[in-house]
Amino acid sequence: MKRIAKSTLQTAINLVFFAVIGTAVLSATYYMTHATIVKSEEAEKLKLITQLVPNSLFDNAIMQDTLTLPPDALLGTDAPTTAYRARLQGEPSAVVFEAVAPDGYSGKIALILAVRANGELAGVRVVTHKETPGLGDYIELAKSPWIKGFDGKSDAAYGEADWHVKKDGGKFDYMAGATITPRAVVKAVHKALLYFDANRDKLFAPAVAAPKGDTP
């Protein structure tokens, strides 16, 4: 009995020893790479944002001028998202925010939108999707310029009926064989614009609680 207890203890100590060493190696790597990882993630985000909002449209630190949007039915989001505000000489020029099309052909399609201060779309990009490769994936800019069809559109200029694919009597192109995907994207973009119209002032409100908390 004593012998068994002793060997069990020895085995446990052995396992703990390896676990501690493993954790130490992981922690060291984490601290060494963490700053670079955050930096490359931010750079990637900024690259996407400047694709939508050209550099000429803003002179503020867009990555810092953020606003947390609560989950909203019009955005299709079920978790808080971040909006990035572009300003030119202090005047709001555009806002970048996320929206989700919940009804894609195979699940959710995550979008990022940039809307100018006048309500016009500066651009839309698909962030993630699971649509059929080669069929529904023309919503990606890498595959087709379809997504650029949203540039310059607004809720005011296009009526309710126009915010559909052409097959449904609207004004947006689609590709035969894959209508569910563009239908979902068009609907989500339209709803996001309605959200923008309803929350315009809030979206552009000056950063009251700046992330650093240096403004009262």
Binding site: T11, G22, L26, Y30, M32, T36, I37, E44, G134, L135
Partner: protein, 237 residues
């Protein structure tokens, strides 16, 4: 390690016991990421790195690990090494990290890594174990490269697309458009294309083996297939 041992380990890993087309271990990543050369080779090299490091890390401590807990300890060490590789890729090859995504942490569950540790590194010295891990990994990488190439050419008509994600913007012009104005062939990109492609590779490997055997035996034709891909006796664990 003698030169002959060195050669044997290398030959075993890359060709005779090739993980992709002979041992058929770790099919999940093989089938999932082999949609292009760059994806396949990148994951193959990441796996090679993990296998080399884990072979080198486990061989020296093999005497101190009690038999009863060797599997958890081995898995722990493999998981640590994979996570280290994941952090490094996330930090220094961000674009590629995004593409390979979930398959990097999944290297831990790739049975080939644990299989080589069990079959080789837990019984052999450090140098030989590291070499075995590297050879096995390179064999896997070669299969991923060939399969990725076949699927990419048939599916997209290109080669090396996405190489800029791995090597930076300088490599943007390295993409080869093998077939200009190609409209793509969906089947090759989807999972069935991976199965068909791998099946053809296995058949090709078996055919080469048979031919070699025939040559050795001269005019006498070989009736029974040697080195069959699925033969259980070839599985090391």
């Amino acid at each position: 390690m003698t030169a002959q041992e060195f050669k044997d380990i290398l030959y075993n890993g890359v060709w005779k016991q090739n993980t992709g087309v002979v041992q058929l271990l770790g099919l999940c990543p093989i089938l999932a990421v082999s949609s292009s050369v760059v994806n396949g080779v990148s994951l193959g090299l990441a796996t090679t790195l993990v296998m080399t490091l884990s072979g080198a890390a486990i061989a020296p401590i093999r005497a101190y690990v009690p038999n009863e807990i060797r599997i958890p300890v081995f898995i722990l060490i493999i998981a640590v090494l994979v996570t280290v590789v994941q952090y490094l890729m996330n930090a220094y090859m961000y674009g590629l990290y995004v593409v390979l995504g979930i398959f990097i942490p999944l290297i831990v569950t790739n049975c080939i890594v644990l299989a080589r540790i069990e079959a080789f590194a837990s019984k052999n010295p450090v140098g030989a174990s590291a070499l075995d891990g590297m050879a096995m990994g390179l064999g896997l990488t070669a299969v991923l490269a060939v399969l990725g190439g076949i699927r990419e050419i048939i599916g997209h008509g290109t080669l090396l697309s996405g190489i800029d994600l791995a090597l930076g913007d300088v490599a943007k012009h390295w993409v080869i458009h093998v077939i200009p104005d190609y409209h793509g062939f969906l089947l090759a990109i989807l999972p069935p294309g991976a199965f068909i492609g791998l099946g053809l590779l296995i058949a090709g490997k078996n055919w080469l083996n048979l031919r070699k055997e025939r040559k050795l035996k001269g005019a006498q034709a070989v009736a029974t297939p040697i080195d069959g891909g699925c033969s259980p006796s070839l599985h090391q664990s």
